[in-house]
């Protein structure tokens, strides 16, 4: 029953916001109320679930197990953060070049409606039970978020949105082809019982034909890999992430791409017993490392602050893919934890980048100097976020990145581990150089001032703190350790 409330409330709010019935003040309040209630329900569900974690929830077309709950918690946390930072962001969005909303106030309702719809489709992705429906919902996320990417309707944002829809739709069509082939395999092997149902297929995976499963996996990997932003198919990612409004970029990077990764993992768990571990593992690790390797040079020469963050996201998705590709318990748990950490820290970073763009009225990092003097609060959050995403010790990402790298060595791939470390070091040098140049130096703009308010800095600080505490004490905290272990078991399928 709870599930219906979780899925119903954002949709209800989206409809109400789209009709512009509420006034602006009421709209902000309703926005926060909806997100908070939904988040509360998700937490409640997670806690109840963790008590007897091996019994998935089945309701109609919905199916939620430990992995689904973990993803739902990530999406829900970002939803909460979105709701509590959106008012500050919208009120500050006055910039002639990069702002848009305040000059056309009636658009706020539309922005809220689309954003909540976007979160709603992402929640659907992680709760539906069949691979076919997962495909449908992933495609729906593309379409809703394309309107959000193009929200400002400037020339560059239109270009980014066009590229995004075209590239992702073609990729996702290939994934549909993969799904159809998998369905064909199922019809041949098991007949027409529970078509494409994830749980059923995962239990009877051995019956699939080897060649059919391999072909299906190839198509699914390319299709969903496009959506994740893996290396040769990543062309849309930096554009979409850099041109969208800052809040949307945070949601795109933090939640959307890992939702696609989630669907790919589900599909992999089905075909793995038939195709064999080596082929799948090589695909994941190879493309993951290639993604990191491609992201590094682009970060080094980058001038656009949000584009730099987008390439940093690519690096993290590459690391996630490589981590899952090892198919070891430690690596899987660390990667799941990294999904959570990356979502929180990256959302916080994109929000801060949006603030910086407002403060300095430019996206060009070469023109931003002396943040430390002019906007100390923003500068502090920028530094904390950068240090966090690069995986330096006190922050949450350090733990998850460390465990992933450690499992490379545990899996007897020391050279791959060293390669990953070298690539991460390159990333660290590039990003830290740009960030430090922005922080230090003499301020060149007289008008720039502190924009970060009290409420949103509280939210950002809480996000960093939660990510740090959860990853440092993952197994000491109640429920978290259980959920992680159970979710990792689902990702690994039969392999131990």
């Amino acid at each position: 029953m709870e599930l219906y409330y979780i899925l119903g409330l954002p949709l209800l709010f989206a409809v109400v916001a789209a009709t512009n019935m509420l006034g602006l003040k009421l709209l902000h309040i309703a926005d926060r109320l909806t997100a908070t209630v939904v988040f509360g329900l998700i937490l409640d569900m997670a806690v109840k679930f963790a008590c007897h974690a091996d019994e998935p929830i089945r309701q109609g077309f919905f199916y939620v197990d430990a992995l689904g709950i973990w993803m739902l918690v990530i999406v829900g946390t970002l939803y909460l953060a979105f709701a509590w930072t959106s008012k500050a962001y919208l009120e500050r969005d006055t910039n002639i070049r990069y702002g848009y909303l305040r000059r056309f106030t009636h658009l706020e309702g539309r922005f809220y409606a689309l954003s909540h719809l976007f979160v709603w489709t992402m929640m659907l992705v992680v709760t539906v039970d069949s691979l076919g429906l997962m495909w449908v919902t992933i495609e729906a996320t593309t379409l809703v978020s394309a309107l959000l990417v193009a929200f400002k309707f400037t020339r560059t944002s239109l270009e980014a949105a066009w590229k995004y829809v075209m590239v992702c739709t073609v990729g996702i069509c290939l994934a549909l082809l993969g799904t159809i082939i998998l369905y064909y395999g199922q019809l041949q092997a098991m007949g027409n019982v529970q078509p494409l149902n994830w749980e059923f297929m995962a239990h009877h995976a051995q019956m699939l034909d080897h060649d059919v499963a391999k072909l299906a996996f190839a198509f699914l990997f390319v299709g969903y890999g496009t959506k994740i932003g893996l290396a040769p198919m990543h062309a849309w990612l930096p554009d979409a992430h850099s041109e969208a409004p800052a809040l949307t970029s945070g949601l795109l990077s933090g939640a959307l791409c890992i939702c696609a990764l989630y669907v790919l993992l589900r599909a992999t768990a089905i075909v793995m017993p038939v195709v064999g571990l080596d082929f799948i593992s090589n695909m994941y690790v190879g493309f993951g490392l290639l993604t990191i390797a491609l992201a590094v040079p682009f970060v080094l020469v980058q001038r656009d602050v949000k584009r730099m963050l987008a390439y940093s996201s690519m690096e993290n998705f590459g690391l996630l893919a490589a981590g899952f590709g090892l198919f070891m318990p430690l690596a899987a748990e660390a990667s799941l934890l990294h999904m959570f950490n990356h979502a929180l820290v990256k959302y916080m970073l994109f929000y801060t980048a949006g603030t910086i763009m407002e403060t300095y009225a430019t996206k060009n990092m070469m023109r931003i100097h002396g943040m430390m003097q002019q906007a100390p609060k923003t500068a502090m959050f920028w530094l904390l976020g950068i240090v966090g995403i690069l995986g330096m010790p006190p922050m949450g990402v350090f733990f998850s990145k460390f465990y992933i790298i450690a499992s490379f060595f545990q899996a007897h791939h020391p050279y791959l581990g060293i390669l990953a470390l070298v690539l991460l070091a390159g990333m660290l040098i590039g990003i830290l150089y740009h960030a430090m140049r922005m922080l230090g130096g003499k301020p060149t703009r007289k008008s720039a001032g502190e924009l970060m308010g009290n409420l949103d800095s509280c939210v950002l600080f809480l996000m960093l703190a939660v990510s740090g505490v959860v990853s440092a004490f993952a197994y000491e905290l109640p429920y978290v350790g259980t959920l992680l272990t159970e979710a990792a078991k689902i990702v690994l399928g039969g392999v131990q």
Binding site: G132, V136, V165, C173, L176, L177, I180, Y184, F298
Partner: protein
């Protein structure tokens, strides 16, 4: 069914040669009508209800709604002038022929029976041609046509190898196609407002 496949291949060949916006949408419409008929014929072997629902959906979504929306959009676009380049057209027709041969080779390897082999080759050709159209055409509308062709190809392929997806998924796929076209039409409309053209080659600012 044989006649339908021949017609379908013919329409796709015509599509590679059409460069005018309005005509290409009409060609797309004809293609969707043929797909809908194929859907009805294939479904009749498995009972009436099973045939009628996809048929009605294809007719409603792909034959009526999508072309109407695109034609309305074309009326509003400010420059209807075409960029003619004969080389481009001939290459894409040649490529479509090559894709058809490729489809037959592939179907031969899977050892399908002759009838299924024909449809299989046609679907492979549609998928590849759709992709080629999206890459080679510069106008936004023509790219959307390529996308729908690709989608039709995948749909038809699903129809012959699995008699269609489960009903819920099928409904979802149709809904997605519908929304995709709405989103693309909105974007194209905005593009023609702010760039004064729907030529996608003007959008080359984002790089690196």
């Amino acid at each position: 069914m044989e006649y339908l496949v021949v017609l379908l291949i013919f329409v796709v060949f015509v599509q590679t040669r059409v460069m005018e916006l309005r005509r290409s949408v009409v060609a797309l419409m004809a293609q969707s009508v043929i797909v809908a008929c194929a859907c009805l014929l294939a479904g009749l072997n498995h009972g009436l209800i099973h045939a009628l629902i996809p048929f009605a959906l294809t007719l409603g979504v792909k034959v009526i709604f999508i072309p109407t929306a695109m034609l309305k959009l074309i009326k509003r676009i400010t420059d209807e002038r075409e960029i003619f380049s004969d080389i481009n057209v001939n290459y894409s027709t040649l490529a479509a022929a090559a894709f058809l041969v490729f489809g037959y080779v592939l179907g031969n390897r899977f050892m399908l029976d002759p009838m299924a082999q024909d449809i299989f080759a046609a679907t492979v050709m549609m998928i590849m041609t759709g992709l080629a159209l999206m890459v080679m055409r510069k106008r936004a509308i023509l790219q959307i046509c390529g996308l729908i062709t690709l989608e039709n190809g995948i749909y038809l392929l699903g129809l012959i190898i699995t008699e269609g997806l489960p009903l819920v998924v099928e409904l979802g796929v149709f809904l997605d196609v519908l929304i995709a076209v709405v989103v693309l039409v909105i974007l194209t409309n905005r593009m023609s407002l702010s760039f004064m053209t729907t030529d996608t080659t003007v959008m080359r600012k984002l790089k690196g």
